[in-house]
Symmetry: none
Subunit: 139 residues, 4 copies
């Protein structure tokens, strides 16, 4: 149940988590967070808007990134320190999103790794881009 | 149903959204995102860890920030461009978190605002800190 | 799978449905309906208020009444026509609520029954009171 | 975080809350309330019935009315006293429902307001009609 330690990580290591985003994912996310923006829960209004339909919360995709770090790379025991997020394209209901994290830097002295984090849809379009800083679990 | 336009926003404007984070919030968030890290859903393991109990996902607090932007400031019609997040303290089940966004810069020519975004717990401790960049709705 | 027809119903017939109202019931109800009133989801604020803590939505208790009509009396096939609701006392998290419906009038010609509908907590206090009008399933 | 007081309310004031009702809304509502009537959760049975498909619980629409009162008019601090509900048309999965509350009477001496409350679908058809009585928050 413990993730990888610094010694078990190297630059270029990566992991992914893929999910098709459902209406119920978005509706539950709206309910949990209170983000009931019409773009997410009002089909009539959203169809008039620039995305021609309801879209998922950007932060839901960010949650998939969090899943990669918390479950796989480095995995359980990781301390999530910071994250940058650029929302580069909308996620529609039914889109299949792949969150990917890849180690791009290791600071062995301070026990910190930097990961490039992206979410990509089924067409290969990047919908979320950024970097994470995390402390891998100790020995 | 439309949020505030650039002309209706000024530096210093702020809005808040407060929620007591429940076990069910964290469990649903885990289910939606797939972040089933034991820190969030395994009480036995979590009690042995550094936070002495299960904690909420950092990205759940980030979702409360998203709610402030999407619902209030600027509100519906906003395009969320980017967000930086520093996870500065754990959120325990039952903590009451206030997400706050405050306008700190306006770029009228490009229709972009920068907001300082924080989440604070019931004791006044900052648990999440960062900045958001967003495009307010047009006239 | 069909409920009772008019011929199978008489004045005085009643049915009940009991549930202990959990935090997760209230939180999901808030998320579904968008009623994120601090009285329901903000423990700090609610403790300062007149009920000394978070309370359930009145309409959640009304949902338990709906369950009695839809599941038992008259049951599947019923057309729910109207309902009056008096919210007479708060429902706290952890309260055990019994919804009860009792037939108080039958209009055979128009196939309509009137039911007295109440919700009572574990201390016997009525928290919701009213009347329902419904059309039982046909033969 | 406080709603409008009597002094801030006048006859004709109104507020709205719109949501596209999803299958997950109805399923969660069914789970919370225990109203597992086949009309809501059994597509095979419901398609044989008079509405030609599964429909939402009438009380779910009533929950949207509750959201308008609790969040906007009068808003936080309101005491919800009573509500009448006429279920005038079915709500199908995917319907976009607008709950609206409008102040139609003020009793300043007793600090009570009466609101006309309706839910309308995307085609403009009224699906729920009634009146609410509420006490606005005090100064």
């Amino acid at each position: 149940m413990k993730g990888r330690t610094m010694a078990e990580l190297k630059v270029g290591d990566f992991a992914e988590h893929t999910k098709t985003i459902s209406e119920s994912d978005v509706y539950l996310f709206a309910g949990i967070t209170g983000d009931l923006n019409p773009a997410h829960i009002n089909a009539v209004e959203a169809e008039k808007g620039m995305f021609k339909g309801r879209i998922a919360h950007g932060m839901l995709s960010a949650g998939l990134v969090s899943a990669v770090l918390g479950m796989q790379l480095p995995g359980p025991g990781t301390i999530y320190m910071s994250q940058t997020l650029k929302f580069t394209a909308p996620v529609k209901f039914g889109d299949t999103i792949t969150a990917r994290a890849e180690v791009i830097d290791r600071n062995v002295d301070r026990n910190r790794i930097t990961l490039k984090t992206t979410c990509t849809n089924q067409a290969g379009k990047v919908v979320l881009d950024g970097e994470a800083l995390a402390m891998p679990p100790k020995e």
